[in-house]
Subunit: 189 residues, 2 copies
Amino acid sequence: MTLPRDHRGQTRALARSMEVVGERWTPLIPRDALYGGRRFGEFAAHPGVPRAVLTDRLAALTGAGVLARRPGTGTGRREVHGLTPRGVALCPAVRALTAWGEGFHAAEGGPRRVFPHARDEAPLAPDGRCTGCGAAVPVQDVLVAPGPGLAAPAPDDDPVTAALARPHRLLTPLFTTAPPGRLTKGSSR
Amino acid sequence: MTLPRDHRGQTRALARSMEVVGERWTPLIPRDALYGGRRFGEFAAHPGVPRAVLTDRLAALTGAGVLARRPGTGTGRREVHGLTPRGVALCPAVRALTAWGEGFHAAEGGPRRVFPHARDEAPLAPDGRCTGCGAAVPVQDVLVAPGPGLAAPAPDDDPVTAALARPHRLLTPLFTTAPPGRLTKGSSR
């Protein structure tokens, strides 16, 4: 068929975005990095994501300039992946997709995580502004905290679950060294 | 490996969103519906999307409650797909993903489409507010208009390209009857 000229070979912003984050599982990785995940074992904590797929997606996101790889520090010394400025700029899209998912499942106990403004702890509006002070809040001043839909903490929580359940600023690493115990063991490649 | 309890079997909003719109090509369809596309041939106007894939994606989005199917009217009488309220609610996510794609390619001539507020024609800020009057602008009051990166109109433009190049409100159908000529012919299934 005759393709409309408008769509032929021209740059289309959404198509470009989807080339980077449009694969299954891929957007969960920048989301986890936003929450403070840095190590392979921390990103691997999704039900059903095959480890080979995760390796592939980390490489693709690094190649696309969304993540940057750095050698690890501390006792674990595992390689870490952090968000670049380009990756941090994905935050509004990740927030909008997450809000869309939440918006149609309000009956399930509410959101699992909430994102208040660190300064006054007022919730953010869907447009990213603080409902308390009205400021457009930069990513690093947003807290991620347990919401009503998150299961209560349990003594046998693994280190990642326990760390995610403590309110902390976005982009702050969950662990300054590799997490102890099971996860470190489980995440060796 | 031991999966963190937090990630096991619980509802995760972003993962749910990506189950619906995380397949290649899929988000382009709600985007096109936002621009006023309604018929198969109008959605088929992407380079490289196989028609079988498009059929599959339209069915998946309809099953997920993003699109609703209605019988067509007018001379063409082809079946049309329109956005449901759930589909319209995807708009901020589509806008954020598009803005992210644009944000790193500013040297290519600028955005192909711009989205001013219909009332005062002032551009919208990334958070969806009007930079002129400050209002949070509802989707149906947003214009889609040619941006600096869009090729100039040509006399041999197909009907979809020509219709997209005319400023019009989001969600307003591009055609009230099936478009004439080439496209109608090309889009028969």
